[in-house]
């Protein structure tokens, strides 16, 4: 018999044995009742622990299956959705720049042609122009007005398309909102899992790796540590370092 059992039950068994030998029925029965109660309390304790474990296992199963669902379907979906946002923004930016690049030469041609006419026009206004130069001026003016009208119509069309190209913001905004909801749900499930697992030790920080790779743009409301507020701030920081 182990010493723990000896310690716990030794005196009770001795009392029981003594009471039986002495024919003390009352003491024997009282001691026996005490012994049974003690065993019951231990049994209930074990039962309660088992019940809690079962409850935790069931809760965990519920969280686990939602997490599996999120990890298997929703997260890859979210990646595709964000990929699509990247594609949308990329296309819109290129479309906008294409249109702006097309406008540049048209505006330049208008400015150049106007520049070529302006000197003759001023002489005409000062009544210093000769008849043959006037005739050339009228012809150039005809050409200029036609070209300028066509060019500016094209510029106007391009500008309207630039405006339309910004429609990506609506679509990408909706997609991003959907992904934000998913991230929120994932967060709740993970927090619940951590609570059920009761893993006290926090995961090691990947600070140095983040530092090396970068954090991305500063997002208002998300604190990543001390950051500069603009180019002036950067310049004064670097000046302080002797640059």
């Amino acid at each position: 018999m182990s010493s723990t059992l000896q310690q716990e039950y030794g005196s009770i068994v001795a009392t029981l044995s003594d009471a039986l030998a002495a024919g003390d029925d009352a003491l024997f029965l009282a001691e026996l009742d005490g012994l049974v109660r003690r065993r019951e309390i231990q049994l209930f304790g074990e039962l309660r622990k088992l019940t809690i474990d079962l409850q935790t296992a069931l809760d965990r199963f519920r969280v686990d299956s939602r997490l599996v669902d999120l990890a298997e379907k929703e997260v890859p979906n979210a990646k595709h959705r964000l990929d699509h946002v990247l594609k949308l923004t990329d296309e819109a930016a290129h479309r906008t720049m294409d249109l702006v690049e097309r406008c540049g030469p048209l505006a330049e041609r208008t400015a150049q042609q106007a520049g070529g006419i302006v000197e003759s026009w001023r002489r005409f206004r000062r009544r210093e122009i000769q008849i043959d130069e006037f005739q050339r001026l009228v012809l150039r003016m005809d050409g200029f007005l036609d070209t300028a009208r066509n060019d500016m119509e094209a510029v106007r069309g391009n500008l309207a398309e630039v405006m339309l190209a910004q429609g990506y913001q609506d679509l990408s905004g909706q997609i991003i909102r959907g992904v934000m909801n998913l991230v929120g749900e994932l967060e709740v499930a993970l927090v619940e899992l951590v609570r059920l697992s009761k893993t006290g030790a926090a995961a090691p920080k990947r600070h140095s790796d983040d530092q090396q790779r970068g954090f991305g743009p500063i997002i208002p409301g998300i604190d990543n540590g001390p950051a500069v507020s603009g180019q002036q701030d950067v310049d004064s920081l670097l000046a302080g370092l002797g640059m």
Partner: protein, 130 residues
């Protein structure tokens, strides 16, 4: 240094590379090549006779800071002017870039005037040092 200088623009976003390239052309530097991260940029730099490197920080593959360190560690590239053009705005990052030997640091979003000012300043310092 002249307007014939050869620039390498490194950014993982093609739109940003295009914006920077257009700005450089407007500033009178038509000789611009592009790379989408450090691992593509480094071999280009090692064989491409570039005069100026403009790089983002946060990129897949080799990020900008690692590219900067690799450039400074290469004897042939050690003196190449490097301008970091990035959304990374943490003070310790800027200090780390300065310690790694960056010549200028511009944070996104940026203006054409800021880009011009920093390039001019770097080139001016080069001329004075020569």
């Amino acid at each position: 240094m002249s307007k014939d200088m050869k620039f390498l623009v490194v950014d993982d976003f093609s739109t940003m590379r295009r914006i920077i390239k257009n700005l450089l052309i407007d500033l009178g530097y038509p000789n611009v090549a592009e790379a989408d991260d450090g691992s593509t940029a480094l071999p280009m730099l090692q064989s491409g006779q570039f005069d100026f490197l403009i790089t983002d920080w946060n990129m897949p593959g080799i990020p900008g800071l690692e590219l900067l360190k690799a450039v400074r560690a290469d004897a042939r590239l050690a003196k190449l002017p490097v301008l970091m053009l990035t959304a990374e705005a943490k003070r310790e990052q800027i200090i780390e870039a300065a310690q790694a030997g960056v010549n200028g640091y511009v944070i996104k979003p940026f203006t054409a005037a800021t880009l011009k000012e920093k390039i001019d300043k770097i080139l001016e310092a080069r001329t004075n040092a020569a």
